[in-house]
Amino acid sequence: MIREHVDILIIGAGPAGLAAAIAAREDGIDSILVLEREAMPGGILRQCIHNGFGLHRFKEELTGPEYAQRDIDRALELKIPIECSTTVLSVSKDRVVTCISREKGLRLIEAGAVILAMGCRERPRGALCTPGTRCAGIYSAGTAQRFVNLEGFMPGQRVVILGSGDIGLIMARRMTLQGAKVLACVEIMPFSSGLNRNIVQCLQDYDIPLYLSHTVTDIQGRERLESVTVSKVDERRRPIPGTEMVFECDTLLLSVGLIPENELSEGAGVVISPATSGAVVTDSFETSVPGIFACGNVLHVHDLVDHVSNESFRAGHAAASYVRSEKKPGLMLKVEDGAGVRGVVPQLIRLAPQEPVTLMFRPSGVFRNASAVISCGDKELMRRKAMIFTPGEMAAYSLKPELFAGLDGSLPLTVRIEKGDE
């Protein structure tokens, strides 16, 4: 069997993988290989033809393919090899990657460092245990988006959307623009998990009703979907009898959450955080397995691609340092989720970091006029007030190295949201 060697191997050529590869190359790493399962680089951005990408990073509004192209162009300019139509079957603890492709068959590649950038997948209907029939016409929003935007087909004409994640909201508008009737967007929580701008631009602008604290409680149709029943839920998310509404529709799109795609990571023995469903990482984005790094949506599901890119640049730099043996592992400070906070990344910070450390997390609910507080024992490192915290928007705070002075790792760092006046 062919056995090759590269310094840094990156799995996935979406925005995370591309940014990591660019950063590593800019740090002078010659031997880099990016493996991509699809026929073209760009990842999920290829099918996100709406605009709104890049406001933070490029200060302009790009479409998904435009955003991806900037990184693809840069990667080509840097002569970073990207092998497409190549699927990774496994990653071992000692960083041997097994992959296959039609052209090159089965290969084993030893890597000095591996960067996991596989992205995430959509939760299916089964995850919700929604009763009813198992007819055609039930799609995850991303599958429908692929049919419409990449293949040019309409998956349906009368649509109900379950879940108010961003892809669902975007598809509400997309299906409407293509002549379908979107009857409702139904969200079990009392708030949307999508970006506010998408609620406005994709639902309100098209008079699509958003039913908060509602869910789909029945699905009917023997062959193709015929109707769904929507019920209001109580504060414990249980359907309230007597509140049923029946929508006649041929399509149900599910936008009920994304799960980082960590099968390869788990196969390598990487420890996964139950809060993020992604790897537990240090502030260098190194996982529990030395030399294996993770960034982008495989690490934790982001709200904006700009944040994915920024995080992945840092991961690429860190992997470059690793293969040059510049950074030695040392004692770590633990980071814990406090009240109102779910899934802080990174979960570990080296004592006395030399560079600023960014902490990212999702608020666990909606908090108005509240403050994000980062503390260690009695010492408060940071307090930032905000008009609103919502689960749909990731919070990120950069901490300067001097803030960590005097912390010895005996106590964890805690990130919490302190409620203010409602």
Partner: protein, 488 residues
């Protein structure tokens, strides 16, 4: 396409397909028809997948006879047809003195039926064997010969073998009525026109009583009993090595927790009598009733990894036993009626017995030559690295992974589409290859599978369905924006 056949089998479940395979060894033309658009579309695809050891059936009943005989045929049959099967054993757990009596009953029934190795064990041994079991359980019947099988993959293999040996399959055929022509042949009027046959075999599952009652003055009645299930994602370590049953009741063998041959965990079934045998929807009440009972067996159960729910409808004949053999008062007609649990376990034995009876009574002559079964290739994910390398050299389509959850390659999907009984829709490919069976439930692969089916068969993408009929995936192209007409 001829409408005349020597033997017509109505129903393409595991019984119909096993019988078709047996009859394909004779020089008679055999046509199998089914209402659905594939084989194994009824109870055969939606059941617990258990090859029961045979301790539950009343000694002397047909259920007992065929279950025990059938279970003995399973290891070699599945080996021959490359169907996933594993003798994982089972425990029937008891919580009270009343349950203890039931278990003693099962033990003596099992012994009377000739089931080997049965014994009742105490709590310590039980928890040592299955540490995740509820420690409140007091004792259990240990059933070492209980097995698990993939029921639909068994049915596909039986059908393929039959097709290779000349049996024809026709789908989407709804049988309206059966009558006798003046020349003694049967005239079967269907949604696809009239069919004529000399020998008729009723393997119609939930419809078998209705069909029977057209042929005979002896009447049967079938109760449609629906069972709902949860299927959990493949865990890193199985919670239970064995199938765990609770004590059986009048409504069936109760709710089980079982590993599947593919390493998933199956929870179910509920038991509820319904009017419409085609109503395979799941309901909140049904699913809740399953979970309530599962928690009794497995207090640590979590639905966080649930990937799908489904239900199947079993055909319960009101006398409680199978009805197998010649249809009374109707020469040339045969049947396997009221096939509920342990129907899957019994299928190979029922098919053999029916075939022996039909071939003898109808003086069928053995076919001069039979084609040996063409085993499908080993799934890519199960190959060793050396086998994978070889497969890739011989067929580069193995290099294209279509289903990432279950690692199914394009080569396997193409093979499924071209099997003797071809997979022509998404679900047919899914059940034959596992593409779409994993944790994303086809979100990633179904558009790709649809394109491959279209490319391989020439069926336009707009006409590709989830499982035949008008279960179409797409309603039009972007340019036309036109509402598509239902294709019914």
């Amino acid at each position: 396409m001829t409408n005349v056949t020597d033997i017509l089998i109505i129903g393409g479940g595991v019984i119909g397909c096993a019988l078709a395979r047996e009859l394909s060894r004779f020089s008679a033309s055999v046509l199998l028809v089914d209402r659905a658009w594939d084989v194994a579309e009824g109870a055969s695809k939606a059941n617990s997948g258990i090859v029961h050891a045979g301790y539950d059936a009343v000694p002397g009943s047909l259920k007992a006879k065929y279950n025990v005989e059938g279970a003995q045929l399973y290891p070699s049959l599945c080996e021959e047809l490359s169907v996933p099967y594993r003798q994982c054993g089972a425990l029937v757990v008891g919580f009270s003195e009343e349950d203890r009596d039931t278990l003693e009953d099962l033990l003596s029934r099992g012994e009377a039926n000739g089931v080997p190795g049965l014994r009742i064990i105490g709590r310590d041994e039980m928890l040592a064997l299955e540490p995740q079991l509820n420690p409140d359980a007091c004792f259990a019947l240990l059933v070492p010969t209980s097995g698990i099988v993939s029921p639909y993959e068994l049915t596909f293999a039986l059908a393929d073998d039959a097709a290779l040996n000349g049996v024809s399959f026709r789908f989407g055929v709804d049988v309206h009525s059966v009558s006798r022509e003046s020349d003694g042949r049967f005239l079967v009027s269907t949604s696809q026109g009239d069919l004529f046959c000399r020998i008729l075999v009723n393997c119609a599952g939930s419809s078998s009583a209705a069909l029977h009652n057209q042929l005979s003055s002896v009447k049967y009645s079938i109760t449609h009993r629906r069972g709902q299930y949860y299927l959990l994602d493949r865990p890193a370590a199985l919670p239970f090595e064995r199938t765990i049953f609770q004590c059986p009741s009048r409504m069936g063998k109760g709710v089980l927790v079982s590993p599947t041959v593919h390493g998933n965990v199956l929870l179910g079934p509920s038991a509820e009598d319904i009017d419409d045998p085609l109503n395979t929807e799941t309901t909140q009440e049904g699913l809740d009733s399953v979970m309530e009972k599962v928690r009794l067996t497995w207090p640590g159960v979590s639905l966080r990894t649930n990937i799908t729910n489904f239900s199947g409808v079993r055909a319960h004949e009101d006398s409680g036993d199978f009805v197998i053999g010649a249809v009374e008062g109707c020469p040339g007609a045969y049947e396997a009626l009221g096939i509920e649990s342990p129907g899957l376990s019994s299928a190979p034995a029922i098919a053999r017995a029916l075939c022996a009876q039909i071939s003898e009574e109808q003086a069928l002559t053995p076919s001069p030559e039979t084609v040996p079964y063409r085993k499908p290739a080993v799934p890519f994910r199960e190959m060793t690295p050396e086998e994978q390398e070889k497969a890739l050299r011989e067929n580069p389509l193995y290099g294209n992974v279509i289903c990432r959850c279950e690692v199914v390659t394009e080569a396997e999907i193409v093979q499924a589409i071209h099997r003797p009984v071809p997979a022509l829709h998404i679900d047919a490919v899914k059940r034959r290859t596992r593409a779409g069976m994993g944790r994303c439930q086809g979100g990633f692969c179904s558009p790709r599978v649809a394109s491959i089916i279209s490319r391989e068969t020439g069926i336009p993408l707009l006409e590709i369905t989830k499982n035949g009929g008008s279960s179409y995936l797409l309603t039009g192209t972007l340019s036309e924006r036109a509402e598509r007409k239902d294709r019914t």
